[in-house]
Amino acid sequence: MGLFSKKNKEAFNTPLFKENPVTVQVLGICSALAVTSKLEPAIVMGLSVTIIVAMANVIISLIRNTIPMRIRIIIQLVVVAALVTLVSEVLKAFAYDVSVQLSVYIGLIITNCILMGRLEAFAMANKPWPSFLDGVGNGLGYAMILVIVAVFREFFGTGALLNIQIIPQSFYDAGYLNNGLMLMTPAAFILIACIVWYQRAKDKSLQE
């Protein structure tokens, strides 16, 4: 089987759109609501999850034949917890401000349903390379939604992107106001709902 065979491409592509973990499977919603009020933490969170899912998928896939079925959840958790701790320490060392902003949510990646879901559903039954692609695809699918939501929330909520002021002062002088609702958690719900709405309107196979 080639490195980028049709099946492998599918493992990478489907979680990006058709099986998107946030908008179709509705997983990882809590962190999508919590870290998206600004773009920077959303990007970091998306990347962290991508790295962790991909690595955990590879590791579990490598040892999948030696894991006893009865204690597989515990083993998966140990792998994920180790990776999360690594990422958390790296963030603290090199991006302290962001890690403070993300606070508990990096640690809570352990409980992110996307991880356990991919490990159980894909890594336990597939070879390392497809598992890696699947992990990266799911992570990026998650990150994509986070970034889209965060762009809207930060832009309309604070008039800035990545903390750089985009909307000029002259707009504010003319009576423009930042939308405070965008900084509240319900806005993330509404925006994710809009993305789900758009996606289902486009893709007939997703309509129930």
Binding site: G175, L177, N179, G180, L181, M184, P186, W197
Partner: protein, 392 residues
């Protein structure tokens, strides 16, 4: 009238299938049925046609809102004159004209944005135009402060129509009150234009009417109550109970005048559009809660005066009784209304950040209303089942 009918008949073919103005058929249809009772008959099944359809109901509600709106317009001018200190020299007519000039753009924006979305959706889904926005469109400008900018009003209307109504399936399918969602949107997204002490009195002169007052501040009566201060009017003197009854005080445009709202309530009750059970129980709920919190209320203010202030009466008469979002069972209406009244006072008394609680109380009970109905129906089912088993 004959000539209008003939004219409509003449241009009608343009809007039918294949006509050159087919794209605007829902607009034509909405306008035609607004003017004339449609003479379409049902094609299947047995149907009962009542003389009063939803267009007539909506028109009745709009008519009952008129007194509150006209008095609100006059009040805008009066508050402006009081703020400028020219109340003695300004005639009531120029006050009213000033209020009209302030109010008209708001009504226009609300209707254009809301109906625009409704027409687009109706056209897109190939449905008839729903008439629900007739009422929402006039309610929205009446429940915002006079200082609310037009673009925020437009944004809030669009948000409310799309997310509170169209996504649920249009008129009659909404879970929460559309006009209140528009207000809640402004309340959470742009708190500075709907609270505080600079937005409740118009301070800009328009077309020579009214006066421009710089750096003027005056809070709403409820804000003064929440701060434990004496209630001040726009002129800087204490408000009398008569002012509160007639509504000559700063506040959202339509909500201030208890007398005008009472006229509206009389129309609604006489025509049977609104339920007296809901209205009454809102007031009962409010009064009960006021007695519960009697020791937390500011001293020296009669308890019933709390019901005159803010949006309590307006909400009880025009918002709580919305047939779509309120409870539908007869017993449920008592519970629903009581919940609104009680919740309003709880929010007013216990939450220092929100001097007014009517909006949030109604929205909360809107969400609970289906559950109330379910419980009422279910308890009736259980009671009857019990009766049946007892007999055997």
């Amino acid at each position: 009238m004959k000539f209008l009918r003939n004219y409509l008949n003449k241009i009608k073919p343009n809007f039918e299938e294949g006509g050159k103005l087919h794209a605007f058929r829902s607009l034509f249809d909405g306008f035609e049925t607004f003017l004339f009772v449609p003479n379409d008959t049902s094609k299947s099944g047995v149907n009962i046609h009542d003389a009063i359809d939803s267009k007539r109901i909506m028109s009745l509600v709009v008519i009952s809102l008129l007194p509150a709106m006209l008095l609100g317009m006059y009040n805008i001018g009066l508050q402006n004159a009081l703020a400028a200190g020219t109340a003695e020299t300004t005639s009531w007519f120029s006050m009213f004209l000033y209020g009209l000039l302030v109010m008209l753009p708001k009504i226009a924006v609300s209707y254009i944005v809301g109906l625009g979305i409704e027409f687009t959706v109706a056209q897109w889904k190939n449905e008839e135009i729903h008439e629900g926005f007739l009422v929402s469109g006039i309610l929205i400008p009446m429940i915002v402060p006079v200082g609310c900018p037009l673009w925020i009003l437009a944004l809030a209307t669009a948000f409310a129509v799309i997310f509170a109504k169209e996504v649920f399936g249009g008129t009659g399918m909404n879970i929460v009150n559309v006009a209140l969602i528009a207000r809640a949107f402004i309340f959470f997204a742009y708190p500075s234009v709907i609270s505080g002490d600079t937005v409740w009195v118009a301070t800009e002169s328009i077309c020579g009417f009214g006066a421009t007052v710089d750096g003027y501040t005056c809070a709403t009566a409820l804000q003064y109550v929440a701060n434990g201060q004496e209630i001040m009017g726009a002129a800087g003197t204490a408000l009398s109970t008569t002012d509160m009854l007639f509504g000559f005080m700063p506040g959202s445009i339509g909500e201030t005048s208890v007398i005008a709202i009472a006229i509206g309530a009389a129309i609604l009750l006489y025509t049977g559009v609104a339920s007296w059970k809901t209205m009454l129980s809102v007031f009962v709920g409010g009064i009960v809660m006021l007695f519960v919190f009697a020791d937390k209320l500011p001293a020296g203010m009669p308890i019933w005066e709390h019901l005159l202030l803010g949006g309590f009466c307006f909400g009880a008469v025009f918002m709580a009784t919305d047939p779509v979002t309120s409870a539908r069972t007869e017993t449920g209406k008592y519970i629903y209304g009581f919940g609104i009244g009680a919740m309003t006072i709880i929010i007013r008394v216990l939450n220092p950040g929100y001097p007014e609680g009517m909006m949030l109380a109604i929205l909360l009970m809107n969400v609970v209303a289906p559950f109330i109905d379910y419980c009422v129906v279910q308890s009736n089912v259980n009671a009857r089942a019990k009766r049946l088993t007892k007999k055997n």
